[in-house]
């Protein structure tokens, strides 16, 4: 058997085994690939895999570029980018400084800084699928921060490659030119290609790959990194277009083949790990998992978020990024950085990614624990003059202002009941205030919030937040104040517990919707006439629903 084939076999089997084990304990795939590489590294000749590994980088970065359209444009303004810049700036500089202290060259120190300051969006956002609209504030900020960091990483790599290959400013200009070409291609060229291919899937996939190759060829010719090229190619194909969806799906399956190869190859190259390497790795891990999140959390607190959101966001930004791995493999093979640094970054990546996933599985508890140990910090979203008037009584406190909360609040107001809305998401808070409700910014788990909402004189609490710990807390608050509470749960399993804790009723959205839905279907099946009537009424009701997903940046709340 050709040696390359047997190497591939060994690699994939190792990866396969680890994946089977890891998927049972929900560890993300990337650290598993790295781990596989560390394991089989001593037994295979990984240099044969370098060409294939490059395709892994190309595809990965290509897909980052594709995401520019859906994620990028709403992320650029707001708190997410502030946090991202803060992290890269502060922790990156810290890393750079430490690197110089360790007697690294300037390039090596920059690499050290990047490894410390930039977080991994593959692992940090891995649980968010493209269809899953980030709903909670921490999810939105986190997504924005990751995206901005990825872009910063690409630009950094552009500059570094231009400098290292001696092209200097011409190189940087060429790189920017390539990115612009990507945008132009997206607007004009792509449509032409689709019609040329007459929508045939096989050809479209090949066109996608050829795009990537084409951009990379230009980059190589000009003397800049292929990463910039792949990113530009991704931008070129990022338009939401009927045929795009299937083509990108197919390309993503191609990516799924090459990506493990890349990570395994990188890790396989990091063979004999020296004590120095471990030392550097420890520093990186501390920087990425302690300092980085701390900076993010502090930044968010300063911007006025409460501790729960701040800590959850911080916990998603605590890994060494795959961009650091892209950097080190290239520079190591060029001989520009030392082996111990290369090994250290790989090690740090494996450790941080694994630990980060463990933390993510526990993030609710951790955030709660942190919140309970820290004092309340006054937030800029709180408006003193908006607390409910002193003598208010018999009001309904509505927790959460999503579709459910808003409709409930409106119905209560229509029935001439006073409503006090409590929200933790600045965007929804703004919506509530626009609708002329009394709206308070506050964490539901904080007694102080309930005091401000005058819970002692309220008649009813309705919590529309599908978080079991919040629902339980609310039930207890209600019992303590001898009033009724309707709370919400994600699953029917917790209903009895919540009822026992004192809730009057538990909302399980699926079940409530089910009864209604059954009526709708019965109507639809009755006949054509009733169906048209049903349609007409349904269209009228659309005014009650949000036009767009509520994803305006939290930072724009004021």
């Amino acid at each position: 058997m050709v040696e390359l084939l047997s190497t591939l076999t060994v690699l994939f089997v190792a990866v396969g085994l680890l994946v089977l084990v890891g998927s049972r304990i929900s560890i993300p795939l990337v650290p598993l690939y790295l781990f596989a590489g560390l394991l089989v590294g001593p037994f295979v000749d990984e240099t044969q895999l370098l060409e294939l590994a490059q395709w892994g980088i190309a595809f990965l970065v290509f897909f980052f570029g594709v995401e520019v359209e859906p994620r990028g444009l709403r992320s650029v303004v707001g708190d997410g980018s502030v946090i991202a810049l803060l992290q890269v700036g502060v922790v990156g500089s810290l890393g750079f400084g430490l690197g110089l202290l360790f007697d690294f060259s300037a390039t090596e120190a920059v690499v050290f800084g990047v490894a410390a300051g930039v977080s991994s969006s593959l692992v940090g956002l891995g649980h968010l699928t493209p269809q899953h609209e980030p709903r909670r504030p921490y999810e939105r900020i986190s997504e924005a921060a990751h995206f901005v960091q990825d872009v910063i990483a690409v630009l950094l790599i552009l500059v570094m490659s231009a400098v290292l290959y001696g092209e200097g400013s011409t190189g940087v200009l060429a790189g920017i030119g390539l990115l612009v070409a990507g945008v132009v291609a997206r607007l004009f060229v792509f449509d032409a290609l689709v019609s040329f291919a007459e929508g045939d899937q096989e050809v479209m996939m090949l066109i996608g790959v050829s795009f990537i190759i084409g951009f990379i060829a230009v980059a190589e010719f000009v003397g800049i990194s292929i990463i910039v090229a792949a990113f530009a190619a991704g931008i070129a194909m990022s338009r939401e277009y009927p045929h795009n969806v299937e083509t990108l799906a197919q390309l993503s399956y191609l990516k799924d083949f090459f990506v493990p190869l890349f990570f395994v190859t990188v890790a396989a190259l990091a063979s004999g790990v020296s004590l120095t390497a471990v030392g550097y790795a420890v520093v990186l891990v501390l920087a990425a998992m302690l300092v980085n999140p701390l900076v993010a959390a502090l930044g968010l607190l300063y911007r006025g978020y409460e501790i729960r959101t701040a800590s959850r966001t911080a916990m998603s930004l605590n890994q060494v990024s795959e961009f650091a791995l892209f950097l080190v493999i290239e520079l190591f093979l060029l001989g520009v950085i030392r082996e111990s640094l290369f090994d250290a970054v790989v090690l740090a990546a494996v450790v941080t990614m694994l630990l980060a996933s463990v933390i993510r599985n526990q993030q609710d508890q951790l955030a709660g624990w942190i919140a309970s140990r820290t004092p309340s910090i006054p937030s800029r979203f709180v408006r003193e003059h908006e607390t409910p008037p002193e003598g208010i009584s018999g009001h309904v406190i509505v927790l959460g202002y999503g579709t459910l909360g808003r409709l409930v609040a409106e119905r209560c107001q229509a029935a001439d009941r006073e409503v006090v809305v409590v929200e933790i998401d600045p965007a929804r808070l703004a919506a509530a205030r626009q609708a002329e409700s009394t709206a308070l910014f506050g964490d539901a788990m904080d007694d102080e919030t309930w005091e401000r909402a005058r819970v002692d004189t309220a008649k009813l609490i309705i919590s529309t937040i599908p978080d079991e710990s919040i629902s339980r807390f609310v039930s207890e608050v209600a019992t303590g104040n001898d009033i009724d509470a309707i709370v919400r749960a994600r699953s029917v399993a917790t209903v009895t517990g919540l009822l026992a804790a004192g809730a009057l009723f538990v909302i399980v959205a699926e079940t409530l919707a089910a009864a209604r839905f059954s009526e709708v279907v019965d109507e639809a099946l009755e006949g054509d006439a009733t169906r048209s009537e049903l349609r007409r009424r349904a269209r009228e009701k659309l005014d009650l629903v949000p036009e767009q997903p509520l994803s305006s940046d939290p930072g724009a709340a004021d």
């Binding site: 085994l17 994946v19 709903r135 119905r411 209560c412 529309t464 699926e510 919707a513 839905f517």
Partner: protein, 573 residues
Amino acid sequence: MTGAIAFATDFAIVIVAATLLAALARRLRQPTIVAYILTGLIVGPVFLGIVTEDQLIEVLAELGLGFLLFVLGIEMRLDRIREILRPVINIAVGQTILQTALAFLIALALGFAWNEVIVIALATVFGATPVIVKVLADKDELDSLPGRIDIGVLIVQDIYLVIILALVAAGVPEGIGDALSTVGRVLALMVLIGVAAYLSYRFLLPPLLHGTTRDHEALFVAAVAWAFLFIYVAESFQLTVEVGAFLAGLSIAQLPYSTEIKERIRPVTDFFLVIFFASIGLQLELDQLLAHWELALIAAAVLMVGNFLIMLYLIDREGFSNETSFLGSINMVQVSEFSLVVGTLAVGQEMIGEDVLGFLALMAVVTMSISTYIILFNQRLYGPAEPYIRRLLREGEDVDLEGHSDHALIVGYRSFADPVVDTLHETFGEVVVVDRNVRQLEMLAEEGEVSTIYGDVTHSDVRDEAGVEDAAFVLCTEVAPSLNQQLLDETDDDAIFFGATQTAKGARTLYEAGASYVVIRDLLAAEALTDLVDSSLETGVDFVDRLSEPLSKLGRAELTHETASAADKGGED
């Protein structure tokens, strides 16, 4: 970074050239395979000479073939052809014997040497699966009776192909005894590995893969690893890469998520196949290609007519109607690319020279190009041919095929659809549910009322299986706009379509496109909730009473509690 790792330039050139030619081929309605072989010819030694075959290309080419056979193994879904299994086997066996004999005679008549004759006879018997599947799929005839007969025959041929490949790979036999023992060894080993494959399917794979079914990337990687494992084992026993991959595919074929795996491996397979076919072109020299061009054309013509008549006779013999016999045979008149696979192997084993490979290549290219048009116009050809056919054949009758039609289809199952299943069952008779949650489907299947399909409904295979076009009622509970749009487009205009979304804008788009109703789950929940709140604010006593009914519904929902927790993830905070 640039110079550190040379970005595989030869490889890149092949891909880009292949893209251009493939796009061109598509415009001319030609099969892309022809374009790929031409790519190899053009960039390789025959014309431009800018690319030579290096190790990377060689390995990727072999992987392409391996994955193709892996996919073919997975496609051995016996339930697809179960109703016509016996006739199909008869036809396939008869066709193999008769076509091999025909090819044998032709090659002999054209003056080839004995070893060449044997290889040619063995190689040219296979129908071109990619061509037939592609064109028929485009015409929506895959599920028709002639389509299924052809697919069935192709499947049986694949088994035969795998055996032939193993034999050829074993090299030139030293005598009859040696040849027989090779055949015996190959068959024994295949059976051995086949048994291992079956045992893994029954006992090993389901628990192993259980954790991965939620994470599709993990499933893909695990499947690829599985294929590689079998490839390694096969190679160690001196069976080929292809045999190993095929058996690996077989072991996965009957699992519920095999369609999912197949869809994900397909792009990788297609991609590597480009390299494979290009590499065939890369290996040839122009003089080899044209060495026997007149002979190739003659052989092509004779084989096409001969194969057609053989298939016609065989299908008719099984008692199918004239139209079915005609269509089933006319789709299979080409010499497939597998002849090139066998040929390449034979060249490697020095059984034949490259000129014969060129002969095979020319035949394949010519017959595949012509047959693409024939398949495209197969129905129209039947008209003028019908009177002659009637005189030749017996009148037969067609089997009724299973399929879903006029049914209710639920795409993605959410628990708010629970109360509705019974109603749909009463009204439409059959309820089909497509979902990607294996446990959900198992629970539904247990309740007995629904037929379940595991798969991603964005894949055309899955949509075909679910019968989207024939459904009378379609409920899509997933909120992705592109998915709703796609389903709405494919649903029959007279059918009732219920879509789902989370925003007003999404709902308006769907209504304008013709949806009967758009489910906004949170709106429905909110309406139910506000009714309750209304009561509560009016009189406290009534509210408690009014609660008893929804509370009891919460109890009933206990059955699907696990899915509700998974289902609410897409909702609001």
